[in-house]
């Protein structure tokens, strides 16, 4: 039955990782100017919080948009296991060439999670600290 009320399931996860913001194309002075202490040579870390929202039909048999065990397992395998307690620059291939800002981290996580087979990925939101958060919902115009 067509339903104009949309239901999403949201779930929060945590991981800890280090990064260094540095662009090879920039001079040392430019890197320092752009990235400040985030450019310190040996990197630093954050406790990241990842918020994942998926949408879909609520299955009448289960009352669920997606089974949490399926979502948790997928996020664990695709994101938490590869990123938790890692150096984003050194350990994650996507950040060999791309600066691991949390903007870019959002996009990388979105690209990984959009393959979730059981529901539609709506958006990812990453809190780098309690005061900085970033969201990415793919390249579409509408939001809510």
């Amino acid at each position: 039955m067509p339903d104009s009320v949309k239901t999403e399931l949201g779930r929060r996860y945590r991981f800890a990782a280090s990064h260094r913001l540095h662009n090879e194309q920039f001079s040392d002075a430019e890197n320092d100017r752009v990235y400040g202490k985030c450019n310190n040579p040996f990197g630093h870390g954050h406790n990241y919080i990842l918020e994942v929202s998926v949408s879909g039909n609520v299955d009448p048999a289960t009352g669920m948009v997606a089974n949490l065990a399926d979502l948790d397992g997928f996020v664990e395998r695709e994101v938490l296991e590869p990123l938790d307690h890692k150096s984003l620059n050194e350990d994650v291939a996507a950040f060999r060439e791309v600066v691991p800002t949390t903007e870019n981290l959002c996009i990388e996580i979105y690209e990984r999670l959009k393959l979730f087979p059981k529901a539609k990925l709506e958006r990812v939101r990453v809190e780098e600290t309690a005061n900085n958060s970033f969201e990415y919902a793919g390249e579409k115009t509408e939001g809510h």
Partner: protein, 145 residues
């Protein structure tokens, strides 16, 4: 347009069990949420209303009125209740976060006289929540699975 959000908390118990499933299937699908005597949560509900502030009052809607609606429709119905047994609107449904959020949407939407209900977000725990809102595309719930 301005969005106004009111937050309330309530506590309730529930159990996930589909009588159409075998005991093994219920266990497999619902895990410990299928434990026979149920369990409870402290739910946090965020209700967001959208509208233009009234020039005379500066308000999207009168918060007193919204508080009264939430008290009547949500608190009295669900707070300190066993959702499966005591909320008739959930009879025959699995009282998941998704289904409770949707019921709250359906209860509140016709009652909001000033402004329009924009979003219902229900936290079952700080790490698990469901959102309901009008699909701006006006389409059906798209993602098939």
């Amino acid at each position: 347009m301005v969005l106004l959000t009111r937050k309330i908390e309530f506590s309730a118990s529930h159990v996930y069990n589909n009588p159409e499933f075998s005991p093994e299937e219920n266990r497999r699908v619902f895990g410990k949420c299928n434990n026979p005597h149920g369990h409870g949560h402290n739910y946090t509900l965020e209700v967001t209303v959208a509208g233009e502030p009234d020039p005379a009052t500066g308000m999207v809607l009168d918060l007193k009125e919204l508080k009264a609606i939430l008290e009547r429709e949500v608190m009295q119905r669900m707070d300190h209740r066993f959702l499966n047994k005591e909320v008739p609107e959930l009879a025959g449904k699995i009282p998941t976060c998704e289904n409770i959020a949707r019921l709250i949407w359906d209860l509140l939407e016709p009652k909001i006289a000033q402004g329009k209900l924009h979003r219902v977000r229900l936290y079952e725990t700080p790490d698990l929540f469901a959102d309901c809102y009008r699909d701006s595309a006006g389409a059906s719930n798209g993602a098939g699975h």
